[in-house]
């Protein structure tokens, strides 16, 4: 006789456990080999921009020295932190400890945020980082980001990804929401991401795609990594089986993403802009779940 939860009562934990078990078939119960990958990029640098990239530059520099909150969290779970400058406004070549893959010095304000070639390079860089992580035998990755005005691009990508659904939803209520036509994400991902995205979201899109297709779990936390996760699932639905949310927010963009992904994040710490801190907490959940692996036998 087993006292498992009835199917209709399944919680976020049960759903996550089922997904983890099916992702790591034939594996032992030991902790996963983990890493934190942090993509850095600034958004809308030619809009209102008082800091000129100083805040995000400082944060990247501090993380590269191991003094960021994400570094402390990563040390606790024995995970290395990989920091990639994909599109910060400022030049970071003087900072050691950052992988320099800069495709642009911050994205533009308005549409398009970058040209298609730039987006293509960001996706490729994200994919290359994923391949490198996979070669190292990493089994689960927590995604983070550093950048300024990140919510603008998170909102723009999410709106583009849910364009049709949002319009349909408003039509049901008797009025029509007019969203700027940026194209169909499923059909023209690069064009849409170039129009709406920021470099870190576009790179994360490429990163998630490669990881999830190779059976490497990706844990994301906020609306920025959530935008990349949502976009990846719209273009490649099979990615859904490899991505896991960690933090829950009351913030509407994140809520929309979770609703569209049918996901229920379970951690309520109210951490924002944590450069992957919430994702690190999510990796701990994965490790705890792995201890249950094989319990049905």
């Amino acid at each position: 006789m087993k006292f498992d939860r009835k199917e209709s009562h399944k919680s976020g934990w049960d759903v996550m456990q089922d997904k983890v078990f099916s992702l790591y078939k034939d594996r032992g119960q030991e902790p996963l080999r983990k890493a934190l990958v942090v993509f850095c990029g600034d958004t809308a640098v030619d809009g209102v921009n008082k800091t000129q990239g100083r805040l995000s530059f400082n944060e990247a520099a501090v993380i590269s020295q191991g003094y960021g909150p994400v570094n402390a969290a990563a040390r606790r779970i024995n995970a290395p932190v990989y920091l990639i400058d994909i599109g910060l406004q400022k030049d970071t070549t003087a900072i050691s400890g950052i992988l320099h893959q800069k495709v642009i010095h911050g994205t533009h304000h308005g549409y398009p945020a970058m040209d298609k070639e730039t987006a293509e390079r960001a996706v490729s860089a994200g994919m290359a980082v994923a391949q490198a992580v996979i070669r190292q035998g990493i089994e689960a990755v927590g995604l983070g980001h550093v950048g300024e005005r990140y919510m603008l691009s998170a909102l723009a990508v999410t709106t583009a990804a849910l364009h049709q659904r949002l319009e349909n939803a408003t039509r049901k209520n008797g009025y029509r929401l007019h969203l700027k036509e940026v194209g169909n994400l499923a059909e023209n991902p690069l064009e849409v991401l170039a129009a709406t995205g920021s470099t870190e979201i576009v790179a994360m899109f490429g990163f998630i795609t490669v990881c999830a297709k190779n059976g490497v779990a990706v844990v994301f936390d906020d609306a920025v990594s959530g935008a990349a996760a949502l976009a990846a699932t719209i273009v490649y639905p099979e990615v859904l089986s490899g991505i896991f949310p960690s933090l829950a927010y009351d913030e509407p963009v994140h809520k929309m993403q979770m609703q569209a992904l049918h996901m229920e994040p379970m951690l309520h710490y109210g951490i924002t802009g944590g450069a992957g801190l919430g994702a690190a907490a999510g990796l701990s959940l994965l490790d705890r779940i792995m201890m249950n692996y094989g319990k049905a036998e």
Binding site: M1, K2, F3, D4, R5, K6, H9, S11, G12, W13, L55, S56, N58, E59, A61, V62, I63, Y67, G68, P69, N71, A72, A73, R75, R76, V146, E148, A248, E264, M266, L267, H268, Y269, G270, I271, T272, G273, G274, A275, L277, A280, A281, S284, L285, D287, R288, M291, N292, K295
Partner: protein, 345 residues
């Protein structure tokens, strides 16, 4: 003076100067664009509880009682120790403790007969199960005091061994009924507003359990100004024991993380006995879906941090909250200040 009274006398308000010192360090830390949310409060709470402004990594113990509840006997097939659910719960508690790097302390506070055999189980039996509280008080006043005092003793023993952080679980079948009875009794709420169905239960069993708790409240009319009266009439030995652990920890510089409705019931009792005892208590679950979801923790000025909704109260939610507490403690201690780094916010 009895142990309970003596313990209550030793619980004193914690230093506001220490809190100010801890919050000042948080404000000075360079956290980049990170907003730490309520994670900061976890550190403040823990550091205050143990009385250290730069606390060491906590030594931990997961404590969970095992007791039988008279009122649950009619709808749980076998509440007795031969029920296979115990083995599953113990296994899960072992994993939770192992994950947390915590000692596991399972305490037979009220099983019947020979009880259970497991190296983690110690016996501090107060009663062989409680009486059916739909027909009268669950236990005597003396048993209620004894249950609390055995929890105080247990907390003291672990503190002597160097443990500072206590995860509270409860491996008693039917514990939701006793927890619900205590909370509803103290707060004068209806049982249906508080009861948290154990997820393996059928709808009929849930309705039956709620009716039984309400019946117990109506029949026993617990005095909500007297925590001991509520505990003896509509509680359980397990809930009393957990109350004792909270009080014992609070009186000797220990911190506690609650898990499940049992922990919340114990915290309400501890609060009613000594308001200052909650200074050492942190919550884990948010209790989503509970009709009193907001009031449940707000009444204790606590904040839930997860919606894991585990099947049992085996310490899972508490351990995961503790995992985050340790992470944030590392951030608090390892991150550099803005002055040290020479950067602004």
């Amino acid at each position: 003076m009895g142990l309970l009274e003596d313990t209550l006398n030793r619980i004193v308000p914690l230093s506001s100067e220490t809190e100010e010192e801890i919050r000042t360090r948080w404000n000075r830390l360079y956290l980049g664009l990170t907003y730490m949310g309520n994670a900061v409060d976890m550190v403040v709470h823990y550091a205050l509880s143990v009385g250290e402004t730069m606390p060491e990594d906590p030594e931990k113990v997961l404590i969970a009682p095992l007791s039988e509840h008279g009122a649950a006997r009619s709808f749980i097939n076998r509440e007795t120790p031969d029920n296979p659910a115990y083995a599953q719960m113990i296994k899960e508690a072992e994993k939770n403790a192992a994950f947390a790097g915590a000692e596991l302390s399972l305490v037979d506070t009220g099983l019947s007969g020979e009880g259970l055999s497991n190296p983690h189980i110690s016996r501090q039996r107060v009663a062989e199960g409680t009486a059916d509280f739909t027909k009268g008080a669950a236990m005597t006043r003396q048993q209620a005091i004894q249950a609390i005092e055995s929890g105080i003793e247990m907390a003291g023993e672990w503190i002597e061994k160097g443990k500072k952080l206590f995860y509270l679980g409860n491996l008693s079948l039917g514990s939701s009924m006793a927890a619900c009875g205590v909370i509803a009794g103290l707060k004068e709420w209806n049982a249906a507003e508080v009861y948290r169905p154990e997820s393996w239960m059928s709808k009929e069993q849930v309705v039956d359990a709620i009716e039984k708790v309400q019946q117990a409240l109506d029949a026993n009319q617990p005095d909500n100004h007297s925590p001991l009266d509520v505990l003896m009439k509509t509680g359980g030995v397990d809930i009393g024991f957990l109350t004792g652990v909270i009080l014992g920890a609070a009186s000797r510089r220990g911190a506690v993380i609650l898990d499940g409705l049992s922990g919340v019931a114990a915290a309400y009792l501890a609060f009613a006995l000594s308001e200052s005892s909650l200074q050492s208590v942190m919550a884990s679950e948010c209790f989503s879906g509970n009709r009193r979801q907001k009031d449940l923790l707000q009444g204790l000025s606590l904040t839930g941090v997860s919606t894991l909704n585990p099947v049992w109260e085996t310490g899972m939610a508490a351990v995961m909250a503790g995992d985050m507490l340790e992470t944030v403690l590392h951030i608090y201690k390892e991150c550099a200040t803005k002055e040290e780094l020479g950067v602004e916010a």
